[in-house]
């Protein structure tokens, strides 16, 4: 038999075509596939998170081990639902404040330790103590100069407290060139990503479902 007999492969194949049918025009088949996708995703996440996260980490230790501290996060979790009623909506501030506080504390350190400092060091370190052209080969050194010029001119472009005119305007325009190159690279990679997705589905249809390629 040419086509695979697996029922799930058939369902996946038909749903893939149903989604792509939107490219021709909006139609009921597309709508059905879209709703199935949204419903399944929501259901999967809800069940998975409860049984693999909430139950073993919160409810099970509370019931079987008597870990009563878990009542606090459970209560905070349930308080998220209080916004469903206008009268109790104010209670949602407590869990949100907790989440925001933890996130802010974590992100502040992470942004400095993991991003700002290492990136600054990576940009300026090659220029320290005559390392340029002595430690690195010619083209790597040129690369570091190009990088530094890019960082500074792009920062100047985003400095809006002064009008972009004269020398200042010229530096800002150089920054725009760097931005355009960065956007171009991102666009190219985005095209590649989208074509990869299309290839993935076409390969699935041709190889796993219809089996017309080897």
């Amino acid at each position: 038999m040419l086509m695979t007999e697996g029922i799930w492969v058939w369902i996946a194949g038909v749903l893939t075509l149903a989604i792509y049918s939107f490219l021709y025009k909006d139609n009921p088949l597309y709508k059905i596939a879209e709703y199935i996708f949204v419903g399944l995703s929501a259901g999967y996440w809800a069940v998975y998170l409860f049984w693999n996260f909430a139950y073993p980490n919160l409810f099970q230790p509370l019931v079987s081990e008597g870990n009563y501290w878990n009542i606090i996060p459970i209560m905070l979790g349930f308080m998220m639902f209080t916004q469903l009623s206008r009268r109790s909506a104010w209670l949602v501030r407590f869990p949100l404040t907790f989440v925001l506080g933890v996130s802010l504390g974590l992100q502040l350190i992470a942004a400095v330790e993991g991003d700002v400092v290492p990136q600054l060091a990576g940009t300026f370190a090659p220029f320290s103590k005559g390392a340029l052209f002595n430690t690195y080969d010619f083209w790597t050194s040129i690369g570091y100069i190009v990088l530094l010029v890019g960082v500074l001119t792009t920062l100047v472009y985003f400095f809006f407290s002064r009008e972009h005119k004269g020398v200042f305007g010229g530096i800002a325009r150089t920054g725009v060139f760097y931005l355009m190159i960065a956007f171009g690279a991102s666009f190219g990679y985005t095209v590649m990503a989208r074509v990869s997705l299309l290839f993935g589905r076409i390969h699935f249809i041709m190889y796993d479902w219809l089996r017309i390629i080897r």
Partner: protein, 275 residues
Amino acid sequence: MSALERIQNLDRRIIFLTVAIAVILPLFFPLRLPIEVTAPVQQLYDVIEGLPAGSVVLISIDYDPSGAPELDPATFSILRQCFTRDLKVFVMGLWATGVPLGIRALDAVAVGEYSRKYGVDFVDFGYIPGGAVALVNLGRDVHNVCREDVYGTPVAEIPMMKRIKSADDFGLVISMSMGVPGSDQWIFYYHARYRGNLATAQTAIGAPKYYQYLQTGQLVGLIGGMKGAAEYERLVDNYGLATVGMDSQSSAHVLIIAFIVLGNVIYWMEKRRKK
């Protein structure tokens, strides 16, 4: 209606169709275009080659099925290299929907191709909830975060886990990532605190952002999209989906470039005509 106007009013479905044809045709008539290995991919390969036998490689499956065409080939290739080099593999993930992908990859490579033993040569902890918070704790105490594996076995009963306690016990961490939580969290919350070797495989759309971390040494390697995965397949000498896909990629890219050039030419012609 002139030819110019006809092209300007071209039904976009014709463009969709031509792109589909450009992707499908190379599946039947392979172009076998050369694939050159780039430095970021080679670096990751070299780091794994340099690890002593028995070292533990943590692979984080931070993607879902929509990222599979780009990231599955890289995952499979890295697993093949790890088991060829007699390395131990610790799999986990920050995406719940990535769990079946990790199981599938280990079943196919660890069990199917290399006959490795679960719990001794590799282990799978599935989805680790909590994102950044989980990673901060993971580096400090692995057993506290990974209490049960994906099959429900307690961590204390898994032989391989006896020697894995903290970030120091991982020779390399690789985040196979397509978004948040993913490589950002590994770089900012894990690597910033615990250092060590960290690498990433990215879907193409996210890859450009991570070259800067490569330059600063925060990453020791980077696989970008299907192209990077095809390069890795070449390095491990096991050609698969990514290599096949690169022909379709290339033909689609040529077509899209042609459309961009055509669009610009028509734009300038129209502008001149109006003058």
